[in-house]
Amino acid sequence: MSKRLTNILTPIIAVLLGILVGTIIMLASGYDPAAAYIALWNGAFGDIYYIGEVIRQFTPYILAGLAVAFAFRVGLFNIGVEGQFIVGWTAAVWVGVAFELPRIIHLPLAILAAMIAGALWAYIPGLLKARFRVHEVIVTIMMNYIALHVTNYIIRNVLASKSGDKTDLVKETASLRSELLQSMTDYSRLHWGIILAIICCFIMWFLLEKTTRGFELRAVGFNQHAAQYAGMNVNRNIILSMLISGAFAGLAGAMEGLGTFGYAAVKGGFTGVGFEGIAIALLGANTALGVFFSAILFGILKVGSLNMPLEAGVPNELVNIIIALIVFFVASSYIIRVFLERFSKKGVK
């Protein structure tokens, strides 16, 4: 079996295995798997509206996944995507409500604000890692909590309008929403952000694989000593990678702030998007294309599953189990490869 075929088959088999085990669990606990999967399918594709929602859902997933993946490629584990996402969201909305500007300036400015906010939030762990060798995992975890409390404070005390816990909608000129896309998808919340997300996939791929900067970043990711020997500035690259990762995460926040929601509200806890980003990045093997596809898969499962309790009476926690199993099997792809090889050898003989 060619290596290429194995590489393509492995994740597909992982997904199928995840679904298979999910089916077994449903059978064992007395639910009807067929009904569940049909409900899932209908919930994701049953109507043009749901297709629009699926795309809307995976737009920030792509960006959060890219954020995690980018840092990973430079050897850093950015658990702080969640926090960077939240500050990006808040910053975008801030610009979106605070200014009166023509669309051509306002929207880019709001997006930029989100990216800068996310980047700054990631800059701190990057800097501490580069300068003091402080473990980025702890710092990013702590920064998540700080982001949550600080943005809540800002929203409540600076941004919120009369009601006190939520900002106004961002101005029309800063919104990613589109009448066209909404009317095409029967009032889904699909917005232009998906274009940005796809562009970012391309940017990540191009930056890492094609540019001298990417060469440095990858070198630092694999071997800091060799990178230093080769005249690369390791610290600068560490910080840079966190900045870019944070910018992706901030942009993901803008997707929510300027697109899906159009406002920022006081949050009782984490949104989970940043943590989904970890699973998405890992499932996508930390490559731009991989992240793109795994985000789509996550989007389909998440949106589709909302329909499961209503239509099939199956708890939608089940989908989380299936997602977990898929991640698990993808992680264990070594064993799948071994089986594939055995299988193909037998086939030849």
Partner: protein, 319 residues
């Protein structure tokens, strides 16, 4: 408020917060010392919390006051069993440890909530009737000054956590098992040439971490939330991970880090009652624990070196 009052509030509350973190961080140490990254601590706590609550709800009448303790043992077993998944994936199937850990977290949340629906047909469980309760430690509570601060209005579990940390320290640094465990995490090939079964040691490390993670979750749920829902364990596992790194993969370090986190949280709660902190906006108190942690790490803890071979696979015959 007098200093004594403050201490009497801060110390028990510090201990309360610290206990689950310490247990779980100790678990993390076993796993990572053996060379397996365990980002799945959060999931293991979820499993522990869930099992303990279900056990407690089911057997409260049978076991009476002993229920929470037996529930902890039960959670220990389920945590250990659940962690076998992580062990199989990351050791035998050569999965990326981090990916497998993330899967463990996702799976734990999904599975437990699914089971709650299945068992109780509800989104969350009811309140347990036999939680861990506040106690005054006999004898010790009467020690002047210290007794009031340390040994009154507190939980047995906090002291068990401290004792556990000391025992784990002893096991890891004083016994052959500990020596072997550490050698496997530092240089698995060296260990292999010395006839140590790397795979077995790593399995043990991960499974013990599952047991401790289960205890951590069980203690948290039975001493603090008293039920199980999607919000019961929300980030404590990651805090435990942070405590483990903060404590430099050392059991007593993790104990210190857990106490530090607990202390910072308590200060953020009591702060609003202290005269000199009263006026500042509450957001500063809310973020204080996290900011303090970052400052502490940057200022005087500095870099921490993970076990050398952590996160790598040991495949015989390669280096």
């Amino acid at each position: 408020m007098s200093l004594m009052d403050i201490l009497m509030i801060v110390v028990p509350s510090t201990l309360l917060w610290a206990a689950p973190l310490v247990f779980t961080a100790l678990g993390g140490i076993f796993s990572e010392r053996s060379g397996v990254v365990n980002i799945g601590l959060e999931g293991l706590m979820v499993i522990g919390a869930f099992s303990a609550i279900v056990f407690n709800l089911t057997f409260a009448d049978t076991f009476g006051e002993a229920t929470p303790w037996i529930a902890v043992l039960f959670a220990m077993v389920t945590g250990a069993l659940f962690s076998v998944l992580h062990a199989v994936a990351s050791i035998t199937f050569r999965a990326d440890h981090t990916v497998s850990g993330v899967a463990i977290n996702l799976l734990a949340t999904g599975l437990t909530l699914f089971l709650v629906k299945l068992i109780y047909d509800k989104g969350e469980t009811g309140i347990i009737s036999q939680p861990f309760s506040k106690i005054d430690i006999p004898v010790l509570k009467d020690i002047p000054f210290i007794g009031k601060i340390l040994f009154q209005n507190t939980y047995w579990t906090s002291f068990v956590a401290i004792i556990a940390a000391v025992i784990v320290w002893y096991i890891i640094y004083k016994t052959p098992f500990g020596l072997r465990l550490r050698s496997v995490g530092e240089h698995p090939m060296a260990a292999d040439t010395m006839g140590i079964n790397v795979t077995k040691m790593r399995y043990l490390g991960v499974i013990i971490s599952g047991a401790f993670g289960g205890i951590g979750g069980a203690v948290y749920a039975q001493a603090i939330t008293s039920n199980f829902s999607h919000a019961t364990i929300s980030g404590q596992g990651f805090m435990a991970l942070a405590a483990m790194i903060f404590g430099k993969w050392h059991p007593l370090g993790a104990l210190g880090a857990g106490l530090f986190f607990g202390f910072a949280q308590s200060i953020s709660i009591i702060g609003s009652s202290l005269p000199f902190l009263k006026e500042i906006p509450s957001v500063y108190l809310l973020i204080a624990p996290y900011v303090l942690t970052i400052l502490a790490l940057t200022g005087f803890i500095g870099r921490a070196d993970a076990p050398k071979a952590v996160g790598t696979h040991y495949i015989k015959g390669t280096r």
